[in-house]
């Protein structure tokens, strides 16, 4: 019994690398006649679902340009495009194991992730700040001493808060939502007085909340994070195609039009305008594109 079990296990382990062997994303796309895009369901306005459950957003538009470039390069105009919803938890495994070829979501490019995956040039920069109820009068992290502060499990904001806490000697009580909607609910129901997260996500949550005028994004910037489209590591051919496409959009100023469409004008599903102008760093990164990780800013 034991011998048979260990033999089976051994065979299974042998088989895993055999069928997961990598040989370039472009070859994979040519052989299968299809490309799979990883999308998010509620990362406003980078990648989310509209009323018809179709993926839309700033990064989806950019990814569609990359898909066009792939079609042109492989001379495959009828390339089949599949969308696969991903989460913060599974996006990196799904890219590295080949389920998703290009992740068009809201992923921070950092050093730990660069060990597993590669990133296109940074197309968005988010600042980690906090959302509060206007009535609370809170303007700065220093006012949060002893108060409950919400953030979402499994995000980098948790570590940022802890680091800031140690640095400034402020002691706040961290409370955790399992996703952004839950964390916002904590702020809404007074379980937390502030919600620390990427400012574009906070702006999206506030804009779609019941009473957008009751909330404000305030306080110092805890971290600056470059957000980029993600692809498999160790695939220079595909990486060059993605990089060239994104850099092309930046050089020709097309990226500015896409930015204006998603960040500076009314967007579905509720036609709210996020009014979220480009940061100085993003302007700089459009001038001189880079895929450097967050640690270098």
């Amino acid at each position: 019994m034991h011998r048979r079990l260990s033999t089976t296990l051994f065979l299974v382990l042998l088989a895993v690398p055999a069928f997961a062997q990598d040989s370039g994303t472009l070859k994979k796309i040519r052989d299968s006649g299809g490309i799979t895009l990883g999308i998010r369901e509620s990362s406003y306005p980078l990648s989310y679902l509209d009323e018809k459950q179709q993926p839309i957003g700033y990064h989806i538009d950019i990814c569609n340009r990359i898909v066009d470039a792939v079609k042109a390069k492989l001379k495959l105009p009828a390339l089949k495009v599949t969308h696969q919803a991903v989460t913060s938890q599974n996006r990196i495994p799904l890219v590295s194991n080949g389920t998703v070829d290009l992740e068009c979501g809201s992923t921070t490019n950092n050093e730990a992730r660069q060990k597993q995956v590669a990133f296109a040039p940074t197309t968005f920069v988010t600042n980690v700040r906090m959302a509060v109820k206007k009535a609370s009068g809170i303007q700065s992290l220093g006012q949060l001493g002893g108060k409950p502060v919400a953030t979402t499990t499994g995000t980098t904001s948790v570590q940022l808060m802890r680091a800031h806490e140690k640095g400034k000697g402020i002691d706040f009580k961290e409370v955790y939502g399992k996703d952004h909607a839950d964390s916002f609910l904590m702020l809404e129901t007074d379980r937390a007085v502030a919600f620390v997260m990427d400012d574009n996500l906070l702006a999206g949550l506030i804009a779609t909340s019941k009473a957008p005028n009751n909330y404000a994004i305030v306080g110092e910037v805890l971290s600056i994070e470059p957000i980029a489209i993600m692809l498999r590591r160790g695939d220079p051919e595909f990486k060059k195609l993605v990089d060239d496409t994104v850099k092309g959009l930046m050089k020709k100023g097309e990226i500015d039009k896409l930015y204006a469409r998603w960040f500076m004008s009314p967007i579905p599903p509720r036609q709210v305008n996020l009014n979220f102008p480009k940061s100085e760093l993003l302007k700089f990164l459009i001038e001189s594109p880079s895929d450097a990780p967050a640690e270098s800013y």
């Binding site: 997961a20 938890q89 990196i92 499990t153 980098t156 680091a163 839950d182 007074d190």
Partner: protein
């Protein structure tokens, strides 16, 4: 698969702090044990009482027991967690509600232990009721005929036998408590599943993380299993239940 393996990750320091990832998992294990054991204690106390109530000769009392069981076993555990955490405080007077939401010490832990305890108590109650039901009618009648009051009959004759009979299904429940405690991450208890998600996000070594957490849950549940087996062997009354193993 294009995965960068790193089994040494557990000894590495987390990004913002002096502790290692192993410290995170140990803290998580501590909270998992605390939530599970507190919930199990609550579940046993309430479950035995409610199970006994359901077999009481008085109809209103039996109905009360039935109501408890049906309330807690017909709602998904995750929904119950959210109900206790987000909904119940809104029905308290505003001052109390705010205290529960912001000031109450260990509020996530208390909510999770209470919720998991109530949920499991409904299941324990059903098993205790089944155990009592499996006893011959004569046991109760004989106890009453000897002059014991009904509570005394439960205390000295019925429950000692019924509880011995239901140790095997209670073992499964005890193991379930450890596994179900993973849902507490949803309201922010920093238990094993919570720490696993944090560690995965911080280190990007998801496969190693979840394998380690799987092993820790297995050890918890299996220890519970062995502990209950020991109790089962120690409390066995020769001749009462046939030896099956």
């Amino acid at each position: 698969m294009n995965y960068h393996w790193n089994w040494g990750v557990f000894g590495e320091q987390v990004k913002a702090g002096e502790e290692t990832y192993l410290d995170w998992l140990i803290t998580g294990l501590g909270w998992t044990l605390a939530v599970s054991l507190a919930a199990w204690l609550l579940a046993l106390l309430i479950g035995i009482a409610v199970g006994a109530l359901r077999t009481a000769p008085s109809r209103p009392i039996a109905l009360l027991g039935t109501a408890w069981v049906e309330l807690f076993r017909n709602i998904p555990l995750l929904v119950q967690m959210f109900l206790w955490f987000f909904v119940v405080p809104e029905f308290l007077p505003p001052d109390w509600g705010l205290w529960v939401k912001q000031e109450m010490p260990a509020k996530e832990f208390a909510t999770a232990a209470l919720c998991l305890g109530f949920f499991t108590s409904a299941r324990v109650a059903e098993q205790v009721r089944a155990g009592i039901g499996s006893l011959p009618r004569g046991q109760r009648d004989a106890a009453l005929a000897l002059g014991l009051t009904l509570p005394q009959a439960y205390r000295h004759v019925i429950l000692p036998q019924a509880l011995r009979i239901v140790i095997p299904p209670l073992t499964s429940e005890f193991m379930n408590v450890f596994k179900n405690s993973s849902i507490a991450f949803a309201i922010g208890v920093m238990e094993l599943t919570f720490q696993a998600r944090q560690m995965q996000e911080d280190s990007e070594q998801g496969i190693e993380t979840y394998l380690a957490v799987t092993l820790l849950y297995f050890i918890c549940a299996f220890t519970a299993n062995r502990g209950m087996a020991w109790i089962e062997a120690r409390t066995r009354v020769p001749g009462l239940i046939a030896r099956t193993s």
